[in-house]
């Protein structure tokens, strides 16, 4: 009865993704911290597991995230209530200006972040602390 085949799904045009098997990320979300734990029942040890990055998937909002959101908002095209914004932006894009500007901003953010991380963790948790004004 154990078969490797799932009932052929295909959500049926509902406009959502219906993968027939889980991605590695999906699997990691599921099988590493959920399910029965055998050594609570039985005295055996787990085999050596080469997994170092489980915690890396926990979402921690950081200054890095904030700066990325801010830049995304900065680049946001709100065509409804900013008639002027759109043509400007289009022009910038066609000249390649927007792209290089964006790149500069991201690099600058990265530099700043490195400075930040280089100092100490207190500076990071302070969040809004500003360096070297």
């Amino acid at each position: 009865m154990t078969t490797a085949v799932q009932p052929a799904g295909g959500g049926g045009g509902g406009g959502f993704d219906r993968p027939s098997s889980s991605s590695l990320a999906d699997v990691i979300d599921t099988i590493l911290d959920k399910g029965l734990v055998i050594d609570a029942y039985v005295r055996v040890s787990l085999v050596g597991i080469e997994l170092l990055t489980i915690d890396a998937r926990i979402v921690v909002a950081s200054v890095d995230t904030y700066l990325r959101f801010a830049e995304a908002v900065n680049r946001l095209d709100i065509s409804d209530n900013e008639q002027k914004g759109l043509p400007d932006l289009m022009q910038d894009m066609s000249q390649g200006g927007a792209r290089s500007k964006t790149k500069g901003a991201i690099e600058a953010a990265g530099d700043k972040l490195r400075d930040f991380l280089g100092e100490d963790e207190q500076a990071q948790s302070a969040g809004r602390g500003r360096k070297g004004d």
Binding site: G15, F16, I31, L32, S45, V47, V59, Y66, A70, V73
Partner: protein, 264 residues
Amino acid sequence: MAQQTEKPREDTAEQTVCYVYGIVPADVETDPEARGVGDPPSPIEAVRHGELAALVSEIRADRPLGKPEDLAAHARILDATSAEAPVLPLRFGAVLTGSEAVERELLAEHHDEFHAALQELEGKAEYVLKGRYDEQAVLREIVTENEEAAQLREEIRDKPADATRNERIALGELINNAIAAKREADTQHALDALGELATTVNVREPTHEEDAVHVAFLAEVAAQQDLEQAVGELAGEWRDRVELRLLGPLAPYDFVVTQQPQQE
């Protein structure tokens, strides 16, 4: 629980141990083609006791697990089973010394509680709904709805990042909080829309800052089409705003609970 794992088994020369995937009703048959974790992967076997069977495969004791193929194999075996039969999934990495230990220490010792749990799961499987916001769409919503965000946006517009660092951080934090609030509301909306198709739900932690919804449902496999249709309607409602994925049937990882070991 008594100590009882010290006896050397006859297979010590090869140093193989028994990897356990999950527990199923005794009448489940294994697919002779199915292969498990490890390198090279061994066939999946069933160790039976009373009303129960454990899905196991042999692995070498000296080789650590954890390669992507190992994780995928563990999930594949259990998820494929869950479409056909109830299954109690074990967390990745569970090993006993041999099939006798599986029968005696795992199945015999917990026969009644496992059996009861399997009966409760009969006909059910886990489905996981994951939604990710379209970044442009959700940011546009927030800037439109939130005056402070709109104002901060004006303050940083076309100014160098260095000169507006504080405003940027304030704006980003505001966005992050606004997304978290939307996630909570949209998760609730998904639960309202799909909850009646589920026996139980488990709201999972987000795994990305733009996650809109991440929920596991325990639902009847027979009602899978209803669930798919309901998710389809939700996807239509959230078109261009949230990208939805539905996984399953999966083994009910979110819904099996390990009891605290009793100190005797």
